[in-house]
Symmetry: D2
Subunit: 280 residues, 4 copies
């Protein structure tokens, strides 16, 4: 399957403003980029790119006062398969975990593992370890929290979600991540494109989505406590300990986001694209 | 049944310090006082007494620098029956509630009804109204929270209890009260004597206890989410919106509570008491 | 001076809904009511009135499904003088305070005295006691917090205000009240009409206002940490421990407030009023 | 100057328990290690070592049930100079910052930059940028917070410190770090040895210490809001976004820390050591 993804954002800056963007598809999908997702920035500006400690591709620029438009459009090869489900994937002993998975057991800005330890163990201590335990956590979060865009609040933490039971996709992810970490299962936050391929179209306007990954049975698996069904076509842009690490843009000055549109759609493979592949 | 209750407290004050005490049995039990619970204060001091807006008997004094001993010992007539259980006691429509019950629907220091509204309705909205709903709330709180004296923290609120799942009897009461109020059931905080009459002795040192009352079927009923079984011999000292209203002592200056002992025991009816009953 | 005050509210209720209103001028201003502020309710409904424990006049009704309009218009005699300023008004010793002022030293839903004790004493412990200390608290709060209607959040507490430094008039009041209570100065929350008599008109739409009162020198004085200048024409509607006690309406069911307008203006004394004064 | 550092810890584990330790001197001090700080672990156990994403040297092991003793003793060469003070060190424009400093501008578990942004800008927006601004932040934190070991609480965040004004060295660091980040100055948390060389001995028992570093004028400088004077002999063990990243031990199972002693003292250079240097 091929998936066409992209977005357009229009900012209005009051003054010259440094900006860091995490708006590219994650380098782990590099080999799937049929048409790469080059950032188109108007006015044209010098951009510096780097990989952060999580391997995310970041772009730095200094926006002039006035309007800044950032957009991209890319074509991505995808398995077309739903998120893998491996009920036998097992929890690792701590001692077996790769070194670089350990940081995903620690607390972070929106994931207060220290405060939710008792909640996690009393609720999930008796569930079968491994995949079923993570699924039990997702089932709990999915039923515990009500989704609503008007419930968005930038400072809401996992502990707040437990109390308020409302949120958007990032809140579902934060709570599930926190509970997994408390149960000694490494969990990391993901953000990226997720269209409605294979499911009923969602009534909400398209936005980037947030989900999470856990380390089970020797690899990372995607879970999504918000939708809580395997989905087709997740295209990850950035990973981190939680949403604090992967803001799609960090702007160091006053601005207004005047337009924000995201698209993610299955693309019919075109004849032209096939030709290009032949000549390549 | 007769119950002998009392306490002894020894404070050390650094300087002359105003004190407000709520250490008498509540005036609603006045007719049960076989031997009244006069406060014995050493050194002797002038004491002013008043009833606060909740009908609690308060004592005001100014402690001199040095040691202050407060004690009492009383004999109280009690039905000897466990807390009443009335599964048919019904929830009142808001419009039927007595005026003075309405304040016990509002938020208070340790009971954030505004934050727990969704939690309450999603968890208890489908339970049968009336007594079974309050019992469902107690069952939930009883199983959600772990008791431990070392878990005491003076600033813990009901929302914190939801997250941390630990606490002492006041925390159990605060969470249950908050959930009842969210469900439009007036709930008020109680503190007083509660011995281990009819149950296995508790391994913890005797302390005052906290429970709560709800307004169902035209009257207030005692519930106790911490023990969650009907108990014999609750002798209420003070009622309020939550623990902020009924501190057994409020001291306006530095001090150390050097000794604190409470006793609550079934008393063998004395001959004198029998005689009094005969002549009555 | 005469002040014309009133409001109009239009609710849309999804179903039959009990409502408690605190929308009358406070009984303490009863003798100032030239034209009383009768609540006009459409459709016509039975209304029960009562005084709560703080002396506020409350109205209870059951709104039918559909639209409910509540309005009033009244003419109130006022001294026309700005809030009194009495720099020599002294702090009372705790032992001297009236019994019914003591509750206004305790913590409440939005006023965490237990958490802000150190903040209060380290900041105001060295200020001159009495009026100057309360003024120092108002000066601090006034400069610490930025006003903005878009900063309103129903669950914000005094501790949140300390951290976030944003809010609306109720947030200014909550923080100032909390600090006063920590310093052993009784402080209570007030809500009511406050026009812009004698000051430049405010660019914001008229709303009810919130301020607070402290007990100094044997009486209650109005303070207003939001405006922090004496103002003319406060007409109190309700008092309580904090905003939790004095919501202008408490609705027990889903609804939308479709219209909300408040007016407060100086009225030219009518000829009739002059005659009345002559004959008096 | 030479500094002798080390510690001894004795744990009692209930069962076989995985442990991650950050108890070595940071690799950035490797060339200063006259006698290296090898971890001595009893009983002898296999230990795996790795560097985490912050460059900290971590040790992984699985403790058997029973007692585990970990100790070290090392001799470290040190400049003997107090922390450098460079009042002309300037703040960098965001655009100039090294890529790997950007993560130290983000929020983290105990550093809620999102909640403290207004506090930071209103308090420090008018201070001279660069070194004086960081010093102003330290001065503020130093005077805002009272130190006390009995004030330690593992879940306290920077926002809690603002409200409660109490804490231990990690709390001072968290608040100062958060304020620096809000002002766009990269700030990272440090933990390590800090003796009382050159200052009056502290009455408290020796412990590891926490301070922070900021990126100014092209390098990282140490600041210490707790002591707020330049100190001699900081020997960093671990750096991270906050205390969540650098726990000296993370234990995945029940245990008791039965003994914990740290030593940090100036060592007189021995003759033997001199000889060794000559022959090297």
């Amino acid at each position: 399957m091929q998936i066409r993804v992209g977005f357009q954002m229009v900012y209005e800056f009051a003054a010259r403003t440094p900006v860091v963007l995490m708006l590219n598809v994650h380098p782990s999908r590099a080999t799937d980029m049929i048409e790469p997702d080059q950032l188109r920035i108007t006015p044209a500006l010098p951009v510096k790119r780097y990989l952060d400690a999580f391997g995310n591709l970041c772009s730095r620029l200094v926006a002039p006062a006035g309007e800044l438009t950032i957009s991209t459009d890319a074509l991505v090869a995808d398995s077309g398969l739903p998120d893998p489900v491996e009920p036998t994937a097992r929890t690792h002993e701590i001692a077996e975990l790769p070194h670089d998975a350990l940081v995903f057991l620690l607390g972070s800005r929106y994931c207060e593992t220290d405060r939710l330890m008792d909640t996690a163990w009393s609720r999930f201590g008796a569930t079968p370890p491994g995949w079923p335990r993570v699924q039990a956590i997702c089932d709990f979060v999915h039923s515990h929290v009500s989704f609503g865009y008007h419930h968005a609040r930038a400072t809401r933490t996992a502990a707040d979600v437990v109390v308020e039971r409302r949120g958007v996709c990032r809140d579902f992810a934060h709570l599930a991540i926190t509970l997994c970490r408390c149960m000694n299962i490494p969990a990391r936050y993901c953000t990226g494109y997720l269209g409605d391929i294979g499911v009923a179209p969602e009534p909400e306007p398209m936005d980037f989505s947030a989900w999470f990954e856990v380390y089970l049975g020797g690899r990372w698996y995607a879970f999504d406590a918000r939708h809580n069904v395997p989905r087709i076509g997740r295209i990850v842009m950035a990973r981190g300990r939680d949403a604090a690490d992967v803001a799609f843009s960090t702007t160091f000055g006053a601005n207004v986001l005047k337009r924000f549109a995201v698209h993610t759609d299955e693309a019919a493979p075109s004849r032209i694209e096939v030709v290009e592949r032949l000549v390549a």
